[in-house]
């Protein structure tokens, strides 16, 4: 099967700058290297929105820079539509990059003048250039502000122009590095809707979205990868990542009373008194079914008024993944330390 974006054992390390003190103490010593990526494997299907999540310094931006031909990997290979990113002449026309950096435009030029300049760099044919710019400015809602200086744009407008620029050459793959970081909640919601309705549903773009924003990833992404210390620690559908670390499903029950000596097939996590009853959060013990628990409660004379499955949100799952011990690669040669959940 061919993928829109593929990473095969990508490794990257950078030289850590030495302080003046270190240079004086050991002028000829070797500089320490910081490992940003440690064997990253990645497959992103055509038309998919793939979320890249991780704490600061996890390697998300490095991975995006390798995919966008700005950084060469030390080992491994990155491919866009089957082409190695080392072959940048063939890869770059397939890529659009949206960064969070508001400064990536010329502030003394208008939005339209910026777009015109970049459209030439992106090889938009001259006979279609102005029409393409007008079309994109309209799609991102900047037609009226097109001739204003970029310096007069709000953060949301700047980000929309960044998206419009990335679409100039109509690339099939978009790399988005924290596109909503500097936006207010309303502008973030607007941008999310644009990504989902326009870029995914209408244009069928393949999007890699690096973000810290877990609700955003949950709302937009088809699949996710959690990158920690340069390794993908968890990858799969949003549901599968959410369920990470949960041995069995959790339940929330509303009962008339909760017997203190209950010995049914459940591990109780929390009980809370509510008017006329008790709210209980629990999970089933190994091998037990929900029916077993309900039977045991009936035998104990407990009336169950409500029973809901308790869904873990992505934030909880992210914390569990962060807290989980790093898998030991030495135990399995060539292991990437990754756990895959759900259908890929």
């Amino acid at each position: 099967m061919s993928y829109a974006v593929e990473g095969l054992g990508i490794e990257k390390s950078f030289v850590r700058k030495r302080s003046l003190g270190q240079l004086l103490r050991d002028p000829f010593g070797r500089a320490e290297r910081v490992h940003a990526l440690r064997g990253v494997d990645l497959q992103v299907g055509d038309g998919e929105i793939f979320g890249l999540l991780g704490p600061n310094g996890a390697g998300k931006t490095t991975l995006l820079k390798i995919l966008s031909c700005l950084v060469l990997p030390d080992k491994g290979q990155a491919r866009i539509l089957g082409v190695d990113t080392a072959d940048e002449d063939r890869v770059k026309p397939q890529l659009g990059l949206v960064t969070t950096d508001e400064r990536s435009f010329y502030w003394r030029l208008s939005g339209r003048e910026n777009m015109r300049f970049f459209s030439i760099l992106y090889d938009v044919p001259s006979d279609r250039r102005m029409a393409r710019i007008d079309e994109l400015l309209e799609r991102v809602g900047l037609t009226e502000a097109a001739d204003q200086r970029f310096s007069d744009y709000s953060a949301g407008m700047k980000q929309r122009l960044s998206i419009a620029r990335s679409l100039l050459h109509d690339p099939p793959v978009l790399l988005m590095d924290e596109p909503t970081r500097s936006l207010d909640p309303a502008a973030s919601l607007e941008l999310r809707a644009f990504v989902k309705d326009e870029l995914k549903a209408r244009d069928r773009k393949t999007i890699i979205l690096a973000t810290h924003n877990l609700p955003e990833a949950e709302a937009l992404c088809d699949r996710l990868a959690i990158l920690i210390k340069g390794k993908i620690r968890q990858e799969g559908s949003v549901d599968a990542v959410r369920a990470f670390g949960l041995e069995t499903h959790g339940y929330e029950l509303e009962v008339d009373r909760w017997p203190g000596d209950f010995s049914g097939p459940a591990q109780v996590h929390k009980t809370e008194s509510i008017p006329d009853g008790t709210l209980v959060q629990l999970s089933l013990t190994d091998g037990a079914e929900l029916g077993d628990l309900l039977s045991a409660l009936m035998h104990a004379g407990v009336a169950v008024r409500r029973c809901d499955r308790h869904e873990s949100d992505l934030e909880e799952a992210f914390t569990r993944i962060l807290d989980a011990e790093e898998p030991d690669d030495s135990a399995k040669p060539g292991g990437s330390g990754r756990q895959t959940g759900g259908a890929v």
Partner: protein
Amino acid sequence: MIRLLRKAWAFLERDLRAETSYRLSFLLQIGGMLFSVLAFYFMTKMIDPDTPGLDGIPPFQWMLIGLSFQFYFSTALYSFSQKIRNEQMLGTLEAMLVSPTPTAMVIFSSASWDFVYGGLRVGLYLLFAVLLFGVEIHTSSLPTVALGVLLTLLSSAGLGILSASFILYFKRGDPINLLLSSLTTFFGSVFFPVENLPESVRFISDYLPITWSLRVVRGALLKGESFATLQYDLLQLGILTAILLPAGIFFSRFAIRRAKREGTLVHY
């Protein structure tokens, strides 16, 4: 080729728009140039016209050409590295480098406006000199001047690209610029003839393109010397160009590759 020229033009247009948005600064620079020409006119009145090395050219005219071409060389030396550094700091370099435009093209074209502006300044200096002080320009030698200017442009670009490679690789310092700028000013017959220096160090001037550029331009423009008379100087300039330009391109490729490997291409 047309595609590349269109891209180079886009850089020029971008910078022209940005520059002309600072109208007052643009006008003040022209005013400053006028005053520096006036200052040089009165300063050179103190110089003995029979000073060895002036070759019969009046000191004001001799120094005016030196001054304007020194500016041009400085532009070449500093513009590539400054532009790259500015683009790195502005955050625009990354946006350009992810486009399907070759990295080398982005670096070279970034400085295109500075070269055009440098040429305009040379032209303005000469225009002031002609209009205000009646300096005679030999138009019959213009093709030789044009060839000299072209070789000057290419050799200085070679030096400039070398300097830009340095900044891509080391990020700061830029010692090549400082060294070359000092050497050019001191040994390049810019403000005084090299004949006035001790004989043991005069040879340094032979390795500087500006020495030969100034001989060609002064000879052709101010004395009306023919191509045949200046062919030795043109040949020397051509040889230096043939060394510096490929060397600049080679080292820039090396520096770009290295910066990509080190992950520092878009950092400042």
